[in-house]
Amino acid sequence: MSAPETKHAGAPSLRDLRALTQARIALGAHGAGLPTGAALAFGLDHARAREAVWTPLDTGAIREALRAEGLDAVELRANAADRAEYLRRPDRGRILHPDSDAVLDGLGTGFDVALVIADGLSATAVALNAVPTAAALAARVRRAGWSLAPVAVVQQGRVAIGDPIGARLKARCVVVLIGERPGLSASDSLGCYITCAPEPGLPDSRRNCISNIRQDGLAVEAAADQMEALLRAMMAQGTSGVGLRRDSRVSPPAPPLPEA
């Protein structure tokens, strides 16, 4: 956005090498200040990230979009009253609101795979990426001959909300698609956490994670392939997380992320 700085002919410049990193290098400086364009661009990125955190997830719209993909869904909520409480009380994002327990009771039990879509820390990521990812995964689940529970779309959910949902549905594995904590450069990263034999109170070391699912990150189809490979390994070994032996076709685990 900033006007290019003048440069001496022939002098090497870091600006020529920006493609080597996403980091905001060679921004230019006026005294200690950023160029106006760079300063405002930073402000815009922060505003987008804040919006991703604070915008409520439109669960109804997600449910409709899932239906258009041929997927049944129910709308649930975790036990945090609102966004402010959700941010202060991560524990409440890990348990279901009592009303949602009753909704789950009507769905039956004994599924191979339960699929949960939760807002996490970025409703933007869920709105943009969750339905295509769910559809790509559902196609692989069908092809593998596994049964799939109706998709649980959860407001104010943390990663561990998959545990009570998966346990109540008596699912062999639960897949949680959740908005990752937005960074400045990407507010739309979707995370995927898969847990075998879900039950409330499991440590995070029992989960496998695939992160950075978004347009400019890990593509939806590639992510769904990784999910399928993880599910196959989990179904065969009956466990997940640090104890899971990984097929060589599966990408190495992503670096640990701050909790979504």
Partner: protein
């Protein structure tokens, strides 16, 4: 033992030292999450009044976490020096605050006192200090450490150049490190948080940073912030390790959550020293801490997060570090909710670290789910410079693209140098001038992003520019 105070006929009681400290702590979300905080401002003030009347000696008589179950408590008890404590041994917490503020408590007196203080004592007095007190007292206590640069001299501010990359790409790390050097950042350390924690990557990263350092002849030290056990293996294989890094916390259980104990830290410190890279009398350990880490590991023993943080400094102090910093706003809003809480915590941590004799820096930072922004960081940086912070962390454009949070930008260090008059370490200051990154007045000399002649050589390290 119970503690109590009466305000206008209402009696407030606190069943033990832990609850007295927790309820006297200025408001923060982590203590609320833990269910330890005061119920409101009046109860908080009642606790602060009761705390102010408490003799400092009470912290020697009553352990917050029993020594027999916690090696950090045991360390604190073993290292307490009664002779150094003597000048303040008869004081209450409130009188100790006044003692610290008085002119007689100068750099020499505070340095002599440090071995006599426990983390609990400094945490307690910080709870009844305003921000201004935290700044005024810390500013009187320089802590100087040395490797290739001398860090913490009065009136100076060093920086950690943090060239992280999401996949640890060598080119990505290198160009980001160069970007920081061109803005004058990196005299505390050039330190990379690795995305992976494998031994080959650790060795590749330290070798890369070593090559950069040698090519440019820059008087600083480098660090790959991998796990201490990886560092031990890398050193055994002859990797050029300047600083050994580890995150530490204030209880044995919380440290176990980081995969460390005092024994492994000692092993690492001895191995780093034995490499002979660090000068005689210099330091070669680097620790990071942060309020909330003990609670997040379910290892806080019912102790408030700020006191737990101060206890982490007892661990750091044991290993004579070159650098210690709190990563104050990284942990998220469930521990420090907003800019106000982050700013106070940053100043508390700096104050407590300095009183205990640590070379204290701060990662002035926030995440996008906290109610904070760059203006809060402007305020914290300015306050920390007034308080004499040893170093801060800077990244390109304030955006760490690996850890997904906002730290300070390299530009912010320029602000501190040029507006607040805080030059970097003297060796690094001379180097910046010699390679013409800065002019004779210490101001940035060239057009931004352009490599001065002495650094053009370094660009040959980058892909497609081989010599």
């Amino acid at each position: 033992m119970a503690y109590a105070t009466t305000i206008e006929g209402t009696r407030f009681t606190f069943p033990d030292l832990r609850s007295l400290l927790a309820k006297a702590t200025p408001e923060r979300s982590g203590d609320q999450l833990a269910g330890l905080c005061a119920e409101g401002p009046v109860e908080r003030l009642a606790a602060q009044i009761a705390l102010a009347d408490l003799p400092l000696k009470a912290f020697l008589a009553e352990e917050l976490i029993p020594s027999e179950k916690d090696e950090v408590s045991d360390l604190i008890a073993r290292r307490h020096d009664p002779t150094a404590f003597a000048p303040v041994a008869s004081l209450t917490v409130g009188a100790f605050r006044e003692w610290l503020l008085a002119p007689a408590a100068d750099a020499q007196a505070l340095a002599a006192l440090a071995p006599g203080l426990t983390p609990e004592m400094v945490a307690a007095v910080s709870k009844i200090c305003r921000l201004q007190d935290l700044v005024a007292i810390a500013a009187k206590r320089p802590v100087v450490t040395r490797f290739r640069s001398t860090i913490g001299l009065p009136g100076r501010l060093a920086t950690r150049n943090q060239p992280n990359h999401p996949t640890d790409s060598s080119a990505g790390i290198l160009i980001s490190a160069l970007d920081g050097l061109l803005m004058g950042s990196g005299d505390a350390v050039i330190g990379v948080n690795p995305a992976t924690d494998s031994l080959p990557d650790y060795i590749r990263i330290v070798e890369l940073l070593e090559t950069l350092r040698l090519r440019l002849d820059v008087p600083t030290q480098h660090c790959c912030l991998g796990h201490v056990t990886v560092a031990i293996e890398a050193m055994a294989r002859g990797a050029p390790v300047d600083l050994v890094f580890q995150s530490v916390a204030g209880s044995q259980k919380a440290n176990a959550g980081f995969g460390v104990d005092l024994a492994v830290l000692r092993e690492a410190a001895e191995a780093a020293r034995a490499l002979g890279r660090c000068p005689e009398g210099g330091q070669c350990m680097y620790f990071e801490t942060g309020q909330g880490s003990a609670l997040s590991a379910d290892a806080h023993w019912g102790v408030d997060q700020q006191t737990m943080e101060a206890r982490a400094y007892a661990v750091a102090r044991e290993f004579d570090p070159l650098l210690v910093n709190t990563v104050v706003g990284f942990i998220g809003p469930e521990y420090l909710y907003n800019g106000k809480q982050i700013i106070r915590a940053g100043l508390e941590d700096h104050f407590c670290g300095k009183l205990l004799g640590l070379p204290m820096g701060v990662d002035v930072c926030y995440t996008n789910h906290a109610d904070a922004d760059g203006e809060d960081m402007d305020a914290l940086l300015t306050l920390l410079c007034a308080a004499g912070v040893n170093f801060v962390i800077t990244v390109p454009g304030a955006d760490d693209v690996m850890l997904n949070y906002q730290s300070l930008s390299h530009h912010d260090a320029v602000f501190a140098r040029e507006t607040l008059g805080r030059p970097p370490a003297p060796e690094f200051e001379a180097w910046l001038r010699a390679v013409r990154i800065t002019d004779a007045q210490g101001r940035l000399a060239g057009a931004a992003g352009e490599l001065p002649p002495a650094l053009a050589e370094a660009s040959r390290l980058l892909p497609g520019r081989a010599a």
